[in-house]
Symmetry: C2
Subunit: 230 residues, 2 copies
């Protein structure tokens, strides 16, 4: 599967995402007309990502956000009870996007090697599709609330676990080499993150997401696949 095919299956518009957030947070959102609310939420998220990617969420003032969205301070506060809650909404939804999709991707029933490829590439493609959400949740993970911290740590662990398990199963079947699979899984995650953390670098190098994902798979296979005895 390449990125284009992946996109067809998994893409949802930023409008659809805004709608999900609206439905999940009807309690704290004072605006009741769906069309208006969804519209403005979309503007708000776009603006937060834009500003926060430059100076971080903490350094973003509500006045910055007001300027960028074109909405007044008063209006903004009808969409969340405070800046803290805005952060929470974005983070929670970011993790839910990842969780839902990664689960779907890793539920494929294939042989070990194919499954490894699917999961590795799927994660990269997903981060490309929802890049602002991935970038934001990673960079703002420090300023997370204790309640949500648990979720985040669990998430980090579980995605690594998925990879480690695939490597373990493959080893049992004689497809992959024995080794410290947790450690290898961590390395794979690091390379996956590279894509959304340093995207500017690869744009400059003219490297597409497909090339990047294939390169990554190549590295992992070279290290993990059982070498044929000459």
């Amino acid at each position: 599967m390449n990125y284009k095919e992946f996109k067809k299956l998994y893409a949802s518009s930023s409008r659809d995402i805004a709608r999900e957030v609206f439905l999940n947070n009807k309690d704290s959102i004072q605006i009741k007309k769906e069309k208006t609310a969804v519209n403005n939420l979309e503007k708000i998220f776009d603006s937060v990502f834009k500003i926060a990617s430059k100076k971080g969420f903490q350094a973003m003032s509500m006045r910055d956000l007001s300027r960028e969205t074109g909405m007044s301070l008063g209006s903004l506060y009808h969409y969340f009870t405070g800046k803290e809650e805005l952060l929470g909404i974005i983070q929670t939804h970011g993790w839910s996007i990842m969780k839902r999709n990664l689960k779907q991707i890793s539920d494929t029933h294939e042989d070990s090697l194919r499954k490894l490829r699917t999961v590795i590439k799927g994660h990269v493609f997903l981060s490309e599709l929802y890049r602002p959400w991935f970038y934001f949740t990673f960079m703002e993970a420090r300023s997370i609330q204790p309640a949500q911290l648990k979720v985040v740590k669990a998430m980090e662990g579980s995605t690594q676990q998925i990879l480690a398990e695939i490597l373990g199963c493959g080893e049992e079947r004689g497809v992959f080499m024995p080794g410290n699979h947790e450690l290898t899984a961590g390395m794979i995650k690091a390379m996956q993150q590279e894509w959304y953390l340093k995207r500017w670098k690869y744009r400059k190098l003219n490297v597409s997401v497909d090339q990047f994902a294939d390169h990554l798979v190549g590295i992992v296979e070279a290290f993990c696949l059982v070498r044929e005895t000459g």
Copy 2:
């Protein structure tokens, strides 16, 4: 070379680092007595790293820093003209530590394979030795000044360049496989960063810095070394 040996060659105490900073910034530091200044600078840096690793530099207030160092607000401002300058001092010095040491490490004259190993492991060991500086410079890179941004981008590029060149030379000599060396170099950097960005994970897994570095070298060799024809 393992970490213990590396440490003997490259380590300098946080006191020595504070002294370097003092000598480099005599103009903006109002305290003239070396012993006092170095002592307090050491306290200041330790405290900044401690607080910033939890909530980020932007979110750290000068009152936080005052509390943590045990110094008064007034005293702190005798060591830098403002919070912005404090950030600049730390970042500039962080990059200079990296630059100086990485240059020294990569100046070794060995064959391609040995050089690759030396440079990869050296970077990991260096990040272990000066972890707070590495972590801080990475995480606060966003809030960097335009003037320093140039330095940072150049640094990121040049360390990647070093790796790419080693791979290129090795390819010419028939030691390494042909391929997109820039891309591979980026992947290696990503895995190196993993060590100082997610150190808690590896502490939990009981993975030592030597194990981590060896694992990383193993992955790179499996991918880059020319396979023996069977």
